[in-house]
C-alpha cells in the first residue's frame, strides 16, 4: 500500500483548537513552602504578564466572571481594587470567590495555597491580615532575576512583624519622599516595586530596625507552620478545645487561670476556647504556641506531646481599678489646658492626664465640653483655611490652563501640581473642582463678552 492510497479523505471540517484558558497558567512561586506567594502578588504578576494593569485585568476579565459565578452585582467582591484589600489573601468570601474565579480563568488549581483559606472556620478573621503592605527589603535582594520576585503570604499576616532570616522588622515604605510620588494613573503594581515612586524596594543593607526575640520567634513559628503539611490540610473545628483542655491538665494542674495568665488573656476567654464558644484569633494561637513552646501545627492537630511552657510572668495589675480623682485638682488642670494657646482634643488631654475622655466628661463635664468646643472651632478654622488655599491653587491652575486653551481636568492639574500639593480624587474634590471650573468659565466668558463689546464700541466710534 503506497503513501497515497493510505491518504485520508477528510470530508470533515478542519479541527478546531480545544478551548484554551483565558489567562496564562502562571504557577505561584514557593508553593507549599514558607516562602509561598500571596494571592495579590500572583494577581499583579499575572496582570503584568498580560501587559495590563491589575485594575484593567480585574475590570475587564475577572469581574465579569465573578458576576457570572455569583450573580452578585454590587459587593466588595467586585471592585477593581478588591485585590488591594487586606482580606484578599485571607480566608473569607472575597478570597474564596477570587481564588475560584482565577482558578477557572488560569486553569491552575491550587491557588488557595496562596491564601489562608485552609484555616477558614478554625480561627477568627479579626486582626488576621495586615492592613498595610509589608516586606523585607533584604529578602527581595536575595532573589536572582526579576522572575523569582514575589510578595510572600507570611508578610500579610498581622502578627508576623519580622523577617526570620534577617531578623529585622518588616517595612511598609521604601523611604521615598512625598515629592517623588507619581500620579496614580502611572503606578506600576509589582511585588518588588514601590507603588508610590516606582523604584525597586530590594535593598542589600536595609536600615530597618532589629526585631525583638519574640518577634523573630513568632516569625519562625509562622514560617514553620506555612512550611508544614498541616497548613494545606483543613483542621478540625474542635482542635482548640482539645488542645487547651489537655494543656491545662498537663501544665497547669487543671487551672484555667494559670493558662490565662501565661497567655495574657482573660480567664473567660480561655473558658470560651475550651468549650468551643469562642474562635481564637491567629495571634492567640501563635501566642499559645510561643508560650507553651510547641509548634502551631501541634495546636491544629491537638498534639500535646512536646509542650515546654515558659515561666509564669507576673500577673498584670488591672487598669483603672480603684482609680479616683480629686475634682478640684482635675478642674485646675483642665483650666490650665484651656489657658494654653495650643488647642488639644479631649482624647489628648485625657491621655496626658492618664485617664479616659469618658472619665473627664463624668468628673468635670463643663470644662471638658469647653475643651471639646474650642478644639472643634480650631479644627473648623483649619479646614476652612485649607479649603481656601486649595481653592486658590486650583483656581490659579484652572485659569492658567484656560488661558493656554487646554481643557482643565482633575488629572491634568494633579499631574502638574503634584499629588501632595493638591489631592483631587475624593468625591468632595470633584464638587469643588466643578465649582471652581464653572466660576472661572463664567469669568472668562464675561471677559470675552466685555472685550467684544469694547471692540464693537471702538469700531462704531471709528466709523463716520
Amino acid at each position: 500500500m503506497n503513501a497515497f492510497s493510505q491518504a485520508v479523505m477528510s470530508d470533515f471540517p478542519p479541527m478546531s483548537m480545544p478551548a484554551r484558558s483565558i489567562l496564562y497558567r502562571l504557577t505561584p512561586i514557593g508553593v507549599g513552602t514558607a516562602w509561598r506567594e500571596s494571592l495579590d502578588s500572583y494577581f499583579c504578576r499575572l496582570a503584568d504578564a498580560h501587559c495590563l494593569t491589575p485594575q484593567q485585568l480585574a475590570m475587564g476579565v475577572v469581574l465579569p466572571k465573578i458576576d457570572s459565578l455569583t450573580g452578585i452585582q454590587k459587593s466588595i467582591l467586585r471592585r477593581n481594587s478588591t485585590w488591594q484589600l487586606s482580606c484578599f489573601n485571607g480566608m473569607g468570601n472575597v478570597a474564596s470567590t477570587w481564588v475560584k474565579c482565577l482558578e477557572i480563568l488560569t486553569s491552575y488549581s491550587g491557588l488557595s495555597g496562596s491564601t489562608l483559606l485552609s484555616m477558614n472556620g478554625c480561627i477568627s478573621q479579626v486582626g488576621l491580615m495586615a492592613r498595610q503592605k509589608r516586606w523585607c527589603a533584604e529578602c527581595f535582594s536575595m532573589v536572582n532575576g526579576a522572575e523569582g520576585l514575589h510578595g510572600r503570604l507570611i508578610w500579610e499576616i498581622q502578627c508576623v512583624t519580622a523577617c526570620r532570616i534577617h531578623e529585622t522588622r518588616l517595612i511598609s515604605t521604601c523611604g521615598c519622599s512625598p515629592s517623588e510620588r507619581q500620579s496614580k494613573f502611572r503606578r506600576k503594581f509589582l511585588p518588588h516595586i514601590c507603588k508610590f515612586c516606582g523604584r525597586t524596594v530590594a535593598r542589600e543593607n536595609s536600615c530597618s530596625e532589629r526585631a525583638t526575640e519574640r518577634e523573630i520567634a513568632v516569625a519562625r513559628l509562622v514560617a514553620r507552620f506555612l512550611d508544614s503539611e498541616t497548613f494545606d490540610s483543613r483542621a478540625n473545628k474542635d482542635y482548640l478545645s482539645k488542645f487547651i483542655s489537655g494543656a491545662k491538665d498537663q501544665c497547669a494542674d487543671g487551672k484555667a487561670a494559670w493558662l490565662a495568665n501565661i497567655l495574657e488573656v482573660n480567664k473567660s476567654t480561655v473558658h470560651g476556647w475550651m468549650h468551643g464558644q469562642n474562635v481564637a484569633e491567629f495571634s492567640h494561637i501563635v501566642s499559645i504556641a510561643y508560650s507553651l513552646g510547641c509548634e502551631i501545627s501541634d495546636i491544629f492537630s491537638a498534639d500535646l506531646t512536646e509542650l515546654r511552657p515558659l515561666a509564669v510572668p507576673p500577673r498584670r495589675r488591672q487598669k483603672g481599678a480603684g482609680q479616683r480623682f480629686d475634682r478640684s485638682e482635675l478642674d485646675r488642670k483642665l483650666e490650665d489646658f484651656l489657658k494654653q494657646n495650643e488647642s488639644l482634643s479631649v482624647k489628648k488631654v485625657a491621655d496626658l492626664l492618664g485617664t479616659s475622655p469618658r472619665t473627664l466628661y463624668i468628673y468635670s463635664n463643663e470644662l471638658t465640653k469647653k475643651i471639646s468646643a474650642r478644639h472643634r472651632a480650631v479644627l473648623h478654622e483649619r479646614a476652612t483655611s485649607s479649603l481656601m488655599a486649595k481653592k486658590n491653587v486650583l483656581r490659579a491652575e484652572v485659569r492658567a490652563m484656560l488661558a493656554k486653551g487646554v481643557l482643565p481636568t482633575r488629572r491634568r492639574i494633579t499631574e502638574r501640581v503634584g499629588m501632595d500639593a493638591l489631592t483631587l480624587f475624593r468625591p468632595q474634590d470633584k464638587i469643588l473642582f466643578k465649582e471652581v471650573l464653572s466660576q472661572e468659565r463664567m469669568l472668562q466668558d464675561a471677559a470675552k463678552q466685555k472685550k467684544k463689546e469694547n471692540d464693537k464700541a471702538s469700531q462704531n466710534e471709528k466709523e463716520p
Binding site: 478551548a19 501587559c51 516595586i193 516606582g198
Partner: protein, 351 residues
C-alpha cells in the same frame, strides 16, 4: 509524550460511507457546495512539505523563519490548516494537561489598504488568535531613571505595547509555530530597507519568544531570503510543488486526486471525469486547489440544473486561457528562481 495519537474520518464521524452519502444528497444546494468546498485531499505533494514544517516547528532546530512557497492554488492554506491539525493531534496530551498551551497559531497578514504594512493590525490579529484578552487596553512599562512606570493609555494600545503583549503571549502559551498566511502583504510596496526592517521585526519576535515563524505565500516571498546573510542562515524554504504535466508519476497522482474528488461530488449520478485528467491537469497548471475550485464551479452549475451533470459545465468552469498562461508564466519563473535553495533538496553534497 504521546505522539502516536491519530484521527481518521471514521473516528470523528461514526456514520458509514453510504449513510454519509445519503445524508449529503439530502442536503440543500448551498450546503452541498459548502461541503465540497471544505473537502481537503491529502496527496503526495503535500506530505513532504508537511513533514518539513512539522520538523521546523520543533524547538532548537536552528530555524527562525520557514517560508512555505508554492504556486497559487497549490493548496498552501490547506497545508497550513493540515499542519495545525497535525500539531493539535501531536500535542493532545500536553494540551489536556496545560489548558493555556497553544502549539500553533494561524494568522493572516493583513492588507489594510494603508501604504505600508500595518503592524498594529498584525499584532492585534495575532493576539486575538492567541486568545489574549483586552488587546485594546495593553499598557507598556517604562523604565526611567530606575523608576518603573506605566505609559499612559490614551487612544488604545500602542504598537510597542501590542508587540510586548504578543511576545509575552507566545512565551506563556509556549507556542511552537506561528503560521502567517498571505505573507506577501509584508513585502508589498516595500523598498529593501523597509523590508529588512520588517524581517528584523519578525526575526526578533522569533528570537524573544522562541517560536518558529512560517510565512506562507507565493514565489515573491523568495526575495526575503536574500536580504541578509544572517536571515538566510536562520531561514528555510519549503516548496509546495504542483503536479507537472508530462511527468508520468505526477500524472498518475493527479489522476488519483481527480478520482478522489470525483467520488466526493454530492450528486446522484457521479460523472466520469478520469477521461479529462490530462486536459484538466494542463488547465489547472497541475495545482490541486485550482482543480477543486474548477470542480466546485462545475458542481454549482450542475446543481442549478437540478443535479444533471453535463460536460459543458466542466468546460465553462475552467479558467480562461489568458488566466492559465499568466499563472503558468508566474509559476515557471518562480520555480526557476528558487531551484537550488530548497529545504531537504540538494543534500547530495555530503555523499
Amino acid at each position: 509524550m504521546n505522539r502516536a495519537v491519530s484521527l481518521s474520518s471514521s473516528d470523528i464521524n461514526p456514520m458509514s460511507e453510504s449513510e454519509r452519502r445519503q445524508h449529503l444528497l439530502s442536503l440543500p444546494r448551498r450546503e452541498k457546495l459548502a461541503y465540497f468546498g471544505g473537502i481537503r485531499v491529502k496527496h503526495p505533494k503535500i506530505e513532504r512539505p508537511l513533514e518539513d514544517l512539522v520538523m521546523t516547528a520543533q524547538p532548537n532546530t536552528g530555524t527562525d523563519i520557514a517560508l512555505l512557497i508554492g504556486p497559487t492554488g497549490a493548496g498552501k492554506t490547506t497545508l497550513a490548516s493540515a499542519l495545525r491539525d497535525r500539531l493539535i493531534v501531536e500535542y493532545q496530551t500536553e494540551m489536556q494537561e496545560d489548558h493555556s498551551f497553544m502549539p500553533i497559531v494561524l494568522v493572516e497578514a493583513p492588507a489594510s489598504g494603508e501604504q505600508s504594512f500595518s503592524w498594529r493590525m498584525f499584532y492585534t490579529r495575532l493576539g486575538i488568535q492567541l486568545a489574549e484578552p483586552l488587546m485594546d487596553r495593553k499598557v507598556r512599562t517604562l523604565l526611567d531613571d530606575g523608576r518603573m512606570t506605566v505609559a499612559p493609555l490614551t487612544n488604545g494600545s500602542t504598537v510597542a505595547s501590542l508587540r510586548g503583549a504578543v511576545e509575552n503571549a507566545l512565551k506563556h502559551r509556549k507556542t511552537l509555530l506561528v503560521v502567517v498566511d498571505e505573507a506577501v502583504h509584508l513585502i508589498r510596496n516595500c523598498k529593501d530597507a523597509r523590508l529588512s526592517g520588517h524581517m528584523d521585526a519578525l526575526k526578533s519576535l522569533s528570537n524573544i519568544s522562541g517560536v518558529t515563524l512560517a510565512l506562507v505565500g507565493s514565489y515573491d516571498l523568495y526575495k526575503l531570503m536574500n536580504l541578509t546573510g544572517q536571515l538566510t542562515r536562520r531561514s528555510t524554504i519549503v516548496h509546495l510543488q504542483r503536479y507537472i504535466p508530462g511527468e508520468a508519476e505526477d500524472e498518475i497522482s493527479f489522476r488519483k486526486v481527480l478520482r478522489t474528488l470525483q467520488k466526493r461530488l454530492p450528486l446522484e449520478e457521479i460523472p466520469e471525469l478520469e477521461n479529462f485528467a490530462l486536459p484538466l491537469q494542463h488547465a489547472c497548471v497541475g495545482c490541486v486547489g485550482i482543480l477543486k475550485d474548477t470542480l466546485s464551479r462545475a458542481l454549482a452549475l450542475t446543481l442549478r440544473n437540478e443535479g444533471h451533470w453535463k460536460e459543458e459545465f466542466l468546460e465553462r468552469a475552467l479558467l480562461s486561457e489568458a488566466q492559465v498562461s499568466s499563472i503558468l508564466s508566474e509559476v515557471l519563473e518562480g520555480e526557476h528562481s528558487i531551484s537550488g535553495a530548497l529545504f531537504s533538496v540538494n543534500k547530495r553534497r555530503l555523499t
